[in-house]
Symmetry: C2
Subunit: 487 residues, 2 copies
């Protein structure tokens, strides 16, 4: 332990706000991707951009890696301290600084919880549109890092569409403002570039967020199917008809049963092979007619049941089942690997059975929850974390699923980011040329590479051709060399 560093950090943030006791740091050894773990060397809790600037200078001066962490709900290991080093836990920066209704925006610190933004502006008829399933816990800083989406991404876009400006701390401790209240993006769109950079460019200290008006009317309904193929075809048909629902989600049988067995039981039909949740929002009148068209498409694809939420409570119940599905899956197996991939929407009916077949081929159960309208899949693999051989099979299945999606013209992540988890899949999508450009863009913001290292970019070949399994060497604070395994 480096006593001098701890003393300097305490001078910057205050005595209470530096954690160095391994027991205190236990919670920081992973984020929502629990498959990979590594304790940080120290955790520091800054309160201002100025403090962050000083911490960054201190860390860089000693060649120590650092990263910012919010609620730790990320699913790709974006907040994993791969090399140890400093975690800047942003919890103290959790204030809503300004609500500007005239310009329909709100200025917040990065550790404000996503849903709290909406709660603060709800009385004025507005909300913050990006709605990751984690929105009761996940923070704006994390949403910005991962460019988070959610069920309503289909209609409203991801976080990048709702961020107007950022204050950030970059390498060397530079504090820089990007964008601002007027929504024009003048010069190069650095705000758009920063959003989704997965914490590898720098640390957000303030964000100006766009507010959206609450829709006049919301209509939510459920359609049940006796095959995944029929449900998938309905999704293709709805999109093909030029209809853009606010949300268009699919759950498969295993997910339905996990939800119905849990405290979040939503009344999904237990015997269904697939359930679609469709939500319309907007103007009240006219919605009825659109709903009828969708119902007709559901019937045409042999929906076994169609049920419309008749009250706000019924609507919330339908959504609770979806949003708590990952939690509910905890009943099925101790380990849950929430996967994230994208396919062209039109290939949904064809690829769904293939994904299930890949998992089955490895003897792994998979529970599927999809942002079906976007072609954004979440095949969730269930495993026992105590069984290394089973973990191997899970990782093998994931790699094959990724290849399947990429071969179909899709992608390795829709909304959870590349992070540590999928960096070695990047060459499936990007040429060395593309990755080189990305690397050089990163170097503009993060020339030392010390801000959240070992994320997004593939490990160099010598560390493991296929990416699974491989070792990473890192230096600890006391100068020793250690190795970490991917599993």
């Amino acid at each position: 332990m480096d006593r001098q560093l701890i003393r300097q950090l305490k001078q910057i943030v205050g005595e209470r706000y530096v954690l160095s006791d391994p027991a205190e740091m236990y919670v920081y050894e992973c984020d929502g991707l629990t498959l990979h773990r590594k304790p940080p060397s120290l955790v520091v809790l800054p309160e201002t951009a100025q403090q962050i600037s000083e911490i960054v200078q201190l860390a860089e001066g000693r060649s120590i890696a650092y990263l910012a962490r919010g609620a730790g709900t990320g699913l790709s290991g974006g907040a994993l301290a791969v090399q140890g080093g400093l975690i800047l836990q942003m919890s103290r920066m959790n204030r809503i600084l300004e609500i500007d209704l005239d310009n329909r925006c709100v200025t917040v610190e990065p550790c404000v919880v996503n849903l709290d933004v909406s709660k603060a502006v709800l009385p004025h008829g507005f909300y913050f549109a990006p709605d990751p399933s984690s929105q009761m816990a996940s923070t704006i800083g994390g949403n910005i890092a991962e460019n988070s989406g959610g069920p309503h991404t289909l209609k409203y876009g991801t976080t990048v569409n709702h961020v107007l400006g950022l204050d950030v701390v970059l390498s060397g401790g530079r504090i820089v403002q990007l964008g601002g209240k007027s929504s024009d993006r003048l010069g190069y769109d650095l705000v758009g570039l920063f959003v989704g950079s997965e914490g590898t460019f720098g640390i957000v200290t303030k964000a100006i967020l766009r507010l959206s008006p609450i829709p006049q009317k919301v209509k939510t309904f459920l359609a049940a199917y006796s095959s995944v193929r029929e449900a998938s075809q309905t999704v293709s048909d709805i999109i093909g008809a030029g209809i853009v629902p606010a949300a268009l989600e699919m759950l498969d049988r295993l997910t339905i049963q996990a939800v119905e067995d849990s405290v979040y039981a939503a009344g999904y039909p237990r015997d269904a092979e697939a359930v679609l949740l469709v939500e319309l929002d907007g103007l009240e009148a006219g919605m009825e007619r659109l709903a009828e068209r969708i119902v007709a498409l559901c019937r045409q694809n042999a929906a076994t049941e169609i049920r419309i939420a008749r009250s706000n409570e019924e609507r919330e119940k339908l959504w609770a089942g979806r949003k708590k599905a990952f939690g509910a899956m905890g009943r099925l197996m101790p380990g849950l690997y929430v996967q994230d991939a994208v396919i062209p929407r039109s290939s949904l009916p064809e690829l769904m059975p293939k994904i299930n077949a890949i998992a089955a081929g490895h003897g792994i159960a998979v529970a599927n929850v999809f942002h079906a309208g976007d072609g954004n899949l979440h095949p969730n693999l269930l495993y026992d974390g105590q069984d290394p051989e089973q973990i191997q099979r899970v990782l093998q299945a994931v790699e094959e699923i990724m290849k399947l999606c990429v071969d179909a013209g899709g992608s390795i992540t829709g909304e959870h980011g590349v992070g540590f988890e999928k960096k070695d899949f990047m060459p499936m999508i990007f040429s060395p040329e593309d990755l080189d450009i990305m690397g050089r863009v990163k170097s503009v913001f993060n020339p030392t590479g010390l801000c959240n290292p070992q994320k997004i970019f593939p490990t160099s070949k010598s560390c493991g051709e296929s990416g699974i399994p491989y070792k990473i060497q890192y230096k600890t604070l006391d100068g020793k060399t250690e190795e970490i395994f991917r599993i």
Copy 2:
């Protein structure tokens, strides 16, 4: 003239496709910003990405500047060959390569005209949403360079929201693919970064564009006012009420009269001080009720007349007046300087009279057309290009208007780009730190700086503190040094 270069270029693109005769190149000495002119050294018309790659290598090998040009409708001098050099005129790359209705996208070459994309997919119920007023002429490549908006930007966003993937040629002749059909933006959002980079990163050779479904119903109406302030207040009130019309445009008295005197006469009331055009689109039912709310807000702000288009012809006529307003202004004075600025929407009523006062203070007439819902202003200054002293006053007025908008929390351009025109206003918005980061991001794509030089970034101080007037030195192809003046 460099005979060897011409010969090499002809070998690449074919004998017919290299222009070197000054008379043939006359049209290439400016784009829509006619205030600044400079003939290129040569114009070359490539047909493939491979040819462009070879041209770029050739130009860079000889340290010759190059830039791509589409229809030349840009209004900030983005296609101005400031240093002479090569213009790559993209006219031969004008094919629609694929219409993929399943995935709601279309793949095009860069010189496809904006409106032709919509025409091609209209029979299938789709269109391409970005609608710059120039859309009958401007090309997708130019729209991408400038991140073009239009009246419907208010609801549908700018070009960046509708581009899924790009093929580009970068420095060194590298051909790189960015993004693709699935709308996820994996890793850093290089597509989003490239769109709006004003041709300073490289040359687009192919684009995958997102298609939007044609709205079921469109309702367009006009409201006339006896003061600009009342019209502006109506805009603020509509937005403040949480209503997002598809478009919300304003024209002032001088513009109205110019339009009504022209062949595009739209039936705007001649005695009005301001006219608002409001368009709603979406589902048919329910629209009536929303229209009533808007009409009530217009009345509340003392609208003197409210008129609803009863047919598609009436609707098109109302829009023709707006879209041809710049052309119509040609009647008023020989020179028209189409300006572009942004203010926070809430300051519209307060700033409008100030802008007019600035122009009046310099004895310059100004005709205003606004994307009022976005706070995106187009004050158009009328001048006589034969009178250098008048041009001075125009430029002075523009600088003061820019300062006014920036001081109000706005910006120096909403949709026309910085280009050559406004690069010296950039320090009004960006710190040296910000500009340094942008410069380094540019260097990643365009390390030689030869791709569209002298755009976006301010002239170094020694060339003119205020930016007006100043000289630029450049080298001609035959090695001589020449100077160009800003006016």
